[in-house]
């Protein structure tokens, strides 16, 4: 860190890192989010076995179904990165296209989660049923809210780019939303393994 600044200082007329404020801010935020999800995941880890009278994780998880929606979310990262690449080439058509696809994939994932929650609820796992229930819905719910916020951002961005006159002028915003989106995906990679695939 110090090196980079010193290095730039040598250039003479300015000393900043040469990086975009917004991107720096976004990465800091994501660093902070690690502690948030870490806390939620750890809470779940401690409580996953405490099911009381309610169903156990193994009883309510539908691994094939969740695998598919995990896959959907994973692929949305690909479309997102394509949107970013298009934006950097100032290809607004490509950008909006890939952003829309990403948003739709994200929405599919959220829809899957709603379905999954409903199914689990019907199998007897409510938010207040047991510690497992509370911890599970809190963790995955937080993730779901993150995805939903991401979808809203993606779709809003599509609208904004369509209205913008200057081609490619939202490249950085696209990149920032992309970072957020990938992060949300990465969190799911962890949740999918730790929560779903590794049973109690």
């Amino acid at each position: 860190m110090a090196d980079a600044a010193v290095h730039h200082a040598d250039h003479g007329h300015h000393t900043s890192t040469g990086l975009s404020n917004n991107k720096l801010g976004m990465w800091l935020f994501l660093g902070s989010e690690c502690l948030l999800f870490g806390g939620l995941i750890s809470t779940y880890m401690i409580y996953r076995g405490r099911v009381g009278e309610g169903p156990r994780p193994g009883n309510v998880f539908d691994i094939p179904f969740t695998s598919v929606s995990s896959f959907v979310l994973l692929m949305s990262s690909l479309t997102m990165v394509l949107a970013v690449a298009a934006a950097q080439k100032r290809d607004d058509r490509g950008t909006t296209l890939w952003l829309t696809v990403t948003g739709l994939l994200g929405a599919t994932f959220v829809g899957g989660q709603v379905y999954e929650f409903t199914a689990m609820y019907n199998e007897g796992l409510g938010f207040t049923t047991s510690l497992f229930g509370s911890a599970f819905y809190t963790l995955t719910g937080f993730h779901g809210v993150h995805v939903t916020v991401g979808v809203i951002m993606l779709l809003s961005l599509v609208g904004i780019i369509k209205r913008s006159r200057v081609p490619g002028d939202k490249a950085e915003v696209v990149e920032l939303v992309g970072l957020y989106w990938h992060f949300v995906d990465v969190v799911w990679i962890i949740i999918f393994t730790l929560v779903y695939l590794i049973p109690t």
């Binding site: 660093g31 809470t43 009381g52 207040t128 809003s156 950085e172």
Partner: protein, 664 residues
Amino acid sequence: MAIIERPVPVGVPDIPAPATPTRTFGALRRPVATTGWKSWVFTVDHKKLGIMYGAVAMFFFIVGGIEAVLIRLQLAAPNGKVLSADVYNQMFTMHATTMVFLFVMPMAAAFANYFVPLQIGARDVAFPRINAFGFWTLVGGGIIVNLSWFFGGAADGGWFMYAPNSGPVFSPSNGVDFWALGLQITGIASLTGAVNLIVTVLNMRAPGMSLMKMPVFTWLQLVVQFLLLFAIPVITVALFLLSFQRSFGATFFDVSAGADPLLWQHLFWIFGHPEVYILVLPSFGIISEVLPVFSKKPLFGYPFVVFSGAAIGFVGWGVWAHHMFASGLGPVSVAVFSIATMAIAVPTGVKIVNWTMTIWGGKLNFTAAMHFAIGLVVLFTIGGLSGVTHAVAPSDTQQTDTYYIVAHFHYVLFGGAIFGLFAGFYYWWPKMFGKQLNERLGKANFWLMVIGMNMTFGPMHMIGLQGQPRRMYVWTEARAGEGFFNLAFWNRVASIGSLVLSIGVLLFLINVVKTARSKQVAPLDPWDARTLEWMTTSPPKEHNFDAIPTVHHLDEFFHRKYAQDPVTHEIKQVATAEDIMRDQEANADKHIHMPSPSYWPIILAGGLPVIALGVIYAIPVAIVGAAIVVLAMYGWSLEPSTAPDTDFDPPASGDGTKELAPLG
């Protein structure tokens, strides 16, 4: 003028920036007032925000202080009758919450906001609107936390709110709901502030200011912001779990469902211990500026102070369970955390040594600010050393939850954090307001505070070691021991001390009023200071510096004023502050384009308390709050952070030398 699309696309330089607005969005015209209340409420200027942070924090200091004095009145005699048990429990909970979250943190944020940009030679922070948002969010959170007093009682679980006592059965009033949601909101303020300041420090430094040429205050603030960045999410999780349990029936701390109450303790203290360094490091930063100035010497061992600050920040993450030595962790955990805690004394000791060595061999000038700075070094050391006695886990099982702990943390908090902040008031007042606080009153202020503080908290060492637990709404003569100097005596001394302390603080307020009324203007460089913030007018212009200085040295300002004679090695003044200012003005930047005021930050921030009230009372209200938040976010993102040139007076000439504030 309507709201304008951002005129210049970042990263696409070859497309000419539209000189006139191309497109209009949104519903609100930008606020334009430059005077009157609107110029404050909608401002995004880091200096105005800094002052507002300070004012709000000061208000809460008085609130928290009055709560403290009520506590002491209740405890002045055995079986006190001033407060009922219920009110007493609310009182100490809110006293601590107010002091920690609504006084020290915002006051440190006030200094950070005001001085970090100035110290690094920047025109503003990286995200001015987010800065305004953070401030109003803090206000909203503070209001929510304190509103509970008027709606059936405040939180009553102690400031660390251990589960399951904080659950709906044991704390049936809404106090804890207000507390949890209010702190959640102030957490948002801290988090956005942290991102903002880190980016500011990393990206907005004046040319030539490498990280290792940054003033120490800025450095330690950087460490603090990293601590906030990573610690706030942990308490966010804890508070969510608590709120979900209280409001939506989740079972997180419900022992009958198999919950482990230690979960809360861990989450709280993983946040809580970094938090105590969040509270004290800004003050360390302040006195690391003050001591060199009034010793006419650079800070001794600058890199050691910086790295020990970072080390404290880092090690501070591995010691949280020292608050839980009696919780039944098992000997292995206790041993590990005990040793880790001791390790923290090493980097802190480095700081004490460096401060001592800074004044060693100096040319000491005992101003009020210097008094407070030296007071900090002494009083913090006392508190730190009692901290080391807690770190010895077996002894801590005798000490924990007694007044001995209360003594420890008031020495580090009051003697550390607050003395540092007061040093900052006296040192920087002329910079912020162009007038100097009265030095005589300042010293009286200092002595009353030192005496009061030692009278109040010194005896608590004894009270605690002789077995008086904390958080007791009454104590009994039966356990006070015999003789004249028994615990009853020391409790009385502590209570009287708190009144002395109050008068001390009152003197400060009187000093402020007196100074505001006086017509005497402070000189440009009243203290013969060393750092960049003094290289501009007092108070600084809206754009801080007429010309952004280029930095060649640590303590740049000092090096511009003084030079060493190569032959005699004598240090001689070669320029005055006035000379340097004149030079600046002569080379002023033209058409400095500052970020424009905005309605959105306060609107967005205003939505959050509405959500909180909704969660407590009626979900539809929360939905209204959420709608406000979402709409404000849209408005915000459609509004460019800077109004177009035509809004400026005089309008930019179009020769391209205008300054753009970043997106924030």
